[in-house]
């Protein structure tokens, strides 16, 4: 019988066929115990985590944990309210201060998730008759922010400076423009040419918003992201980020030097019409952000890990998403979903967790095994990981 769920039938069928082969469901993994940022128990087996975005390994930091416990005792388990009503505690202001110090910017606004930060800021600042120009490979939260607003949406080819410039020049004179970019694109782990793109955007009178979710804490001298690393952070109008990656908890934010920025707190619906983060979460985030300011050694070690894994996987004969390691994400390109799922399961059996990524999340219909490294992965663990890729790759016929 046909009903509202009939539109999902092709996906249900594809999923049933895949699981009928006896494969473990890649989207239903349960971690029974988490020992550290790099190790968990899955299906009773000790598993190295290589797909968590826990780039700086802050989730078990003793200072971070202590701050969270203290906040639970002092402020309770939740705020039960919106930031603009009863949901702003001292901790919410403290984490916004930490962000202002971390980015050396005038304003910071904390949302309940990174998804909501993009959804809220993009949909609110670009209205009817305004134009949003964005990279085609933008994250779902950016597209959803566009869909929630009323602006004209113009995508351009991934990382193509000329395509961006052409589209900016075609926008009718007098219209306000917002260019939306990401520092690191999470699917292939490649970095945007922000230096050129920000220059082109400014030359054409556009404001620039950059999502630095996958670079915060790691890329740039102070861990402020790709815009810092490429020397253009002062020309960026808005930086969007998340607490659910390097910071090691959950939440999202926007930082900016715009003089009228604070008005967003009253007009941004995904900020107003939802409950604020629990006190323990903002306390852990503030502590973690302040520690990330002085983490140059960890950043250096994470780069070493990324280079070593990239070189090792290339040597084994895997096809990777970027020619050079550009971030802490290394994407292994699989020939198709069946092979990708088989390889994912073989790795899990070896004791390694990576992300299986598939369309529509991936560009060009690719199936990817996405690896994200942590600053706390040891040199020995990276060696172990390469051994597991070699064994699983040969067992599934992905490499010879």
């Amino acid at each position: 019988m046909s009903d509202l769920f009939s539109k999902f039938d092709p996906l249900i069928q594809q999923r049933d066929e895949l699981l009928a082969t006896g494969l473990t469901d890649p989207f239903n993994l349960v971690m029974e115990k988490v020992e550290s940022p790099t190790v968990a128990i899955c299906n009773g087996k000790r598993t190295i985590l290589l797909g968590t975005y826990n780039y700086m390994g802050m989730t078990f930091d003793p200072d971070v944990i202590a701050a969270g416990k203290q906040a639970l005792d002092d402020f309770g388990s939740g705020t039960t309210g919106s930031r603009v009503l009863n949901g702003t505690y001292g901790g919410h202001k403290a984490v916004e201060e930490a962000l202002k110090d971390f980015y050396a910017m005038d304003h910071a606004m904390v949302f309940s998730t990174g998804y909501q930060a993009n959804l809220g800021v993009i949909s609110t600042i670009a209205g009817k008759d305004d134009y949003i120009v964005l990279d085609i490979d933008s994250h779902a939260s950016i597209y959803d922010g566009c869909a929630l607003g009323n602006a004209q949406i113009i995508p351009f080819r991934h990382n193509d400076v000329e395509a961006l410039e052409k589209r900016l020049k075609r926008i009718p004179e007098g219209a306000d423009k917002l260019v939306v970019l990401e520092g690191v694109y999470s699917m292939l782990g490649d970095v945007a040419p922000l230096k050129e793109m920000v220059a082109v955007s400014k030359a054409n009178g556009a404001m620039v918003l950059i999502d630095e979710a996958h670079s915060m804490g790691f890329i740039g001298e102070n861990g402020r992201g790709v815009a810092e690393a490429q020397g253009v952070i002062d020309d960026v109008d808005f930086i969007i980020g998340t607490f659910s990656k390097s910071v090691g908890t959950v939440g999202g934010f926007c930082v900016s030097n715009h003089p009228k920025f604070e008005i967003l707190r009253l007009v941004c619906r995904p900020y107003v019409f939802t409950a604020s983060l629990p006190p323990s979460v903002v306390a852990t985030a503030a502590t973690s952000i302040r520690k990330l300011m002085d983490s140059a050694d960890k950043r250096a070690h994470l780069w070493e890990n990324s280079k070593r894994l990239h070189a090792g996987l290339c040597q084994l004969g895997f096809e990777l998403g970027s020619k050079e390691p550009q971030s802490a994400i290394i994407a292994v390109i699989m020939p198709d979903l069946e092979k990708g799922a088989a390889m994912w399961e073989a790795l899990l059996n070896e004791g390694l967790y990576v992300n299986l990524a598939r369309p529509p999340a991936t560009p060009a219909g690719m199936t990817l095994l996405r690896c994200s490294l942590c600053a706390l992965h040891t040199e020995e663990q990276v060696g172990e990981i390469l051994g597991m890729f070699a064994a699983a790759g040969r067992a599934t016929g992905c490499i010879s």
């Binding site: 134009y131 085609i136 566009c146 004209q152 949406i153 113009i154 995508p155 351009f156 080819r157 395509a163 052409k166 589209r167 075609r170 926008i171 369309p359 529509p360 560009p363 060009a364 219909g365």
Partner: protein, 80 residues
């Protein structure tokens, strides 16, 4: 206004690299149902059309365009 037949011929030419099913393309061909394009294919194709005709076709505009003929109509308007 540019010649409509010429615009149609150019659009059909731009469709071909994405016409994996080898569908015979006419004005009534639908992008989603007949060509079976997913959203990413649409974005790639639109980028090519924009550069060929030196216009902007926003995603908002795309939502109103279902067939090849409707795209040609939109391009006639945008380039006139």
């Amino acid at each position: 206004m540019p010649d409509r037949a010429q615009t149609l011929a150019k659009v059909i030419e731009l469709i071909e690299p994405f016409n994996k099913k080898g569908v015979a393309v006419s004005e009534s061909t639908r992008f989603a149902q007949d060509l079976e394009w997913d959203s990413l294919t649409v974005l790639d194709f639109v980028a090519n059309v924009e550069d060929e005709f030196d216009v902007l076709i926003s995603m908002n505009m795309q939502a109103e365009i279902e067939t090849v003929g409707q795209l040609v109509d939109a391009l006639q308007k945008l380039t006139s």
